[in-house]
Structure formats: structure tokens, C-alpha cells
Symmetry: C2
Subunit: 249 residues, 2 copies
């Protein structure tokens, strides 16, 4: 069936954190059946070109436009995979695609599926040990789409609930002050010995993993390729590993 | 190299929620190289028998004993994979293995790795749409290893932080009252229109997915094979999907 014949479909797929051995077989199969790949430039670059496949890389911060373009193609009969790194449902393209469906019953009727992937915090936790082995929360520290006050409130509740925490997008070059403020809030809410793991570019050749105490943590330890994992009050080291015990502290 | 020659290793691997097409290639590779598979009976049953491979299925609630047995075998030169469903770092075997390392520098020196998997909440979220597309938390509702007061406090902080929430082990036959109490707490903290998704046995032939409002939710909608996802205050339906918008509500 050619790309222009109906029915088209749209799959929102997670490529995992970087290592191709963490891409699930169902995602690999979807990529092999696609006519079009849509996504942020570095993620589309992870898909090998082949005959019959059109790559549509786009820049960051155009998620809704990208979602609409993908839906237009699926409605026209294309077999479209929107790629995210990690898991598409965790601070990635799935929510943008569903937002783009609002007010468009024609697009809502399309064959749309989400294929999960290994999200960065779970790859980072695995590389460090098991710091998310007890109740935890997951917060996007970017204040691009929410006011800092919301983030600050969430950090305080998370600390008082004694959740371990995983932070995505801790620090951008353009807005480095967010993570500075997050560390200040954590220091007000948690003890100085709380363990903090900085996991950069996990599963790639650039992987760098460091665990320090909250007292030792500095903003420069994080960049936009870093996932930060803050342990709960019981999180501890054993040998070269960091883990959260299964019992509540 | 035979199983009894050094060096052995221990890998703690996630098999994903049930569908073999969600098992990552690195996990498949580890299983193919193993001499011994250790884990809870239904998870070990997912590994195909073959010559040179010994299966060690064990019952639930013996996690520390199982971890120690696996470490003993690795120390004796075996190539051991401890299998969990989902991700081994999320309410699964990784924390138990690291607990078993306490006070055992000999075991700490072993080649031990964690291979992440698709955890149930992310497979459930993908099947429903993108209900975890904004900040969220993940709580084990089993009070086997923590007092109910800790769970209740975490639920209240999570609601006040406006996190979406994913619940593991919401309801066991022996302790069904926990989820009854959780729903009571949520009704005190959240409005009646809050969306709740019950995702049972996701990615298996038994998959059943239902989304209701908090007012409509009943304890019987969950069992131990169910992951429950409670949206945040902005989580909404679009067509047949449920998603959390990328912006804070």
C-alpha cells in the first residue's frame, strides 16, 4: 500500500534514553513500517534513512505544530511515527499530540497508538542502583510551561511526603536559575546528607554518573542532558550503588 | 566457560508488563547468556527453558532470600538473571538485591547490573493516552512494608501538589481495605470529576482499561493486576483518550 492510500496511522513511540539495545521490538517494528518519521532533530537522527521513508526533523519548542503536521499526514493516509527520546508519555510528545486532537473529531477518529519506552529516570536509576525503589515523584523543572511557584510547591510537598524525586530538564543554558532555586528549596526541606545522583546522557557514550550529598550538590553538576535523582530520607549507599530500601523510612 | 568457572555475574532485569515485544534487546541478550534465572514464579515462567539454563522460581514475599540465593550463585561463578516484571527498580527486585549486599563486601565486589524495563504505569499510561504527561508520583499502596499512615500522608501531599498519581498493588485479596481508604482520602482532597483510570494486565490478552470519575470509582474496579492512574486537576478526555496537558493547571 502506498503512503497516500488510506488507512494511515499515527504512532507516538519512545526510543529510550539512547542505547539502541533499549529500544523495544514493537517500536523497532513501527519504525520499519512507517512512511514518515516526525520529531525533534536529534531524535529523528536516531532513525536510519531508507527508501520509502521521509524524515521530518523539527526544532525544539514547536511541539504542537509538529503534532498537527503529523496528524495531517496520518489523515492523508501516511504511516507516521512521532519519535520521542525515553518514553513519549513522560514530558514528551504524547501530550502534545492529544492536545492537538482538541476540537478535531476527524483526527480523533484516526488510528493513534502510544508505544512506551525506557524513560530517562528509570535508565538513570538502573545505572545508579535502585534509588527509585520506593515511592517517588517525577517533576519537570523547566518553567517553560508552568510558573516557578508551582514547581516550588511541588518540591516542598514531595519532600514532606518523603518521596524520592526525579527531575527532568533541570537546567538550561537560557534559564539556569531554576535548578539553583530548586537546590535552595531542597536544602530547606531535607537534611544535608540526603543523596543526590546526577545522571548525564545515560546509556550513551557520554554517560556520566555522580552521587553526592545535598550539602555537596552544586547547580553546575546538572545540564539539560542530566536527570537528577534525589533520594528519600532512607536512601543509602551500599558498595558502589545507591538504593532506596523497600520499607518506609 | 562452564557455569562453575569464575567470573559469574548478576543482572537484575525487567521483563516489561507482559507483551514480549516490550522486552528490550539487552534484556533478551542477558537471558540468552544466563545459566540461572531467579524470580517470582509467574515471571520465571516467561523465560523459555533451554539446555544449560536452570530456572529457580520462588513464591512471593521471599524477596530477600531470593536475592541472597542469586548472589550466592553469582559468587560461585554462575551467570544469574533475577527477573522482575515491568522495571526491576520500581517496587521490584532491585532494591531487595541491594539490601542483600549490606554487610557483604564480597558480594558488593561482584559484577552486578540493573537492566531497566517498561514499568506497568508507563504501559498503562500509553494504553490510555498520556495521563502521566505532566508531573506525577508513583505510590505502592501495599501496606506490607509500610504503615498505612505513611501512605495516607503521601496521598494527601500528592493531591495538594496536584501531581497525577500512579498506584501499584492497589488491592490484594487479603488486605482489600487499603484501596477503600485510599479512595476516601482522594475524595477528601480532590473534586468528584477527577479522572481515574483502572488499567488491568496491560499488554496481555487480559488487558482491560476503564476510565471513570472519582465519584464513579469503586474499590472493586482494582485488583492486584491493576495499575490505577489518578489524573491531576487538568487531566481530561479527548475522544477515546485521557491526557494531562503539558502546561500546569
Amino acid at each position: 500500500m502506498s503512503a497516500k492510500e488510506k488507512p494511515g496511522w499515527l504512532i507516538i513511540a519512545g526510543l529510550g534514553p539512547g542505547d539502541d539495545r533499549m529500544v523495544t521490538p514493537e517500536v523497532t517494528e513501527a519504525l520499519s513500517q512507517a512512511t514518515d518519521i516526525v520529531g525533534y532533530i536529534p531524535y529523528v537522527a536516531r532513525v536510519a534513512p531508507r527508501d520509502g521513508l521521509t524524515l521530518h526533523p523539527s526544532d525544539n519548542r514547536v511541539e504542537l505544530d509538529r503534532a498537527r503536521a503529523a496528524l495531517e499526514m496520518a489523515a492523508a493516509g501516511h504511516k507516521v511515527v512521532v519519535v520521542s527520546s525515553g518514553d513519549p508519555g513522560v514530558f514528551a510528545m504524547a501530550s502534545a499530540v492529544f492536545e492537538a486532537l482538541e476540537g478535531r473529531p476527524d483526527w480523533q477518529a484516526l488510528d493513534i497508538r502510544v508505544l512506551p519506552g525506557i524513560t530517562a529516570m528509570l535508565a538513570a536509576a538502573a545505572a545508579a542502583g535502585a534509588p527509585l525503589g520506593h515511592d517517588f515523584c517525577c517533576i519537570n523543572l523547566s518553567d517553560n510551561l508552568k510558573p516557578w511557584e508551582v514547581i516550588d510547591t511541588r518540591l516542598r510537598h514531595a519532600a514532606r511526603a518523603d518521596f524520592a524525586m526525579a527531575f527532568y530538564n533541570p537546567r538550561s543554558a537560557s534559564r539556569p536559575e531554576g535548578f539553583v532555586k530548586a537546590l535552595q528549596t531542597l536544602r530547606q526541606e531535607c537534611g544535608p546528607d540526603r543523596l543526590v545522583t546526577f545522571a548525564r546522557a545515560v546509556s550513551t557514550p557520554d554517560q556520566r554518573l555522580i552521587t553526592v550529598t545535598l550539602a555537596e550538590a552544586t547547580p553546575e553538576m546538572a545540564d539539560m542532558r542530566t536527570v537528577v535523582i534525589v533520594g528519600n530520607s532512607a536512601t543509602r549507599r551500599v558498595g558502589r550503588f545507591v538504593y532506596s530500601p523497600r520499607s518506609a523510612g
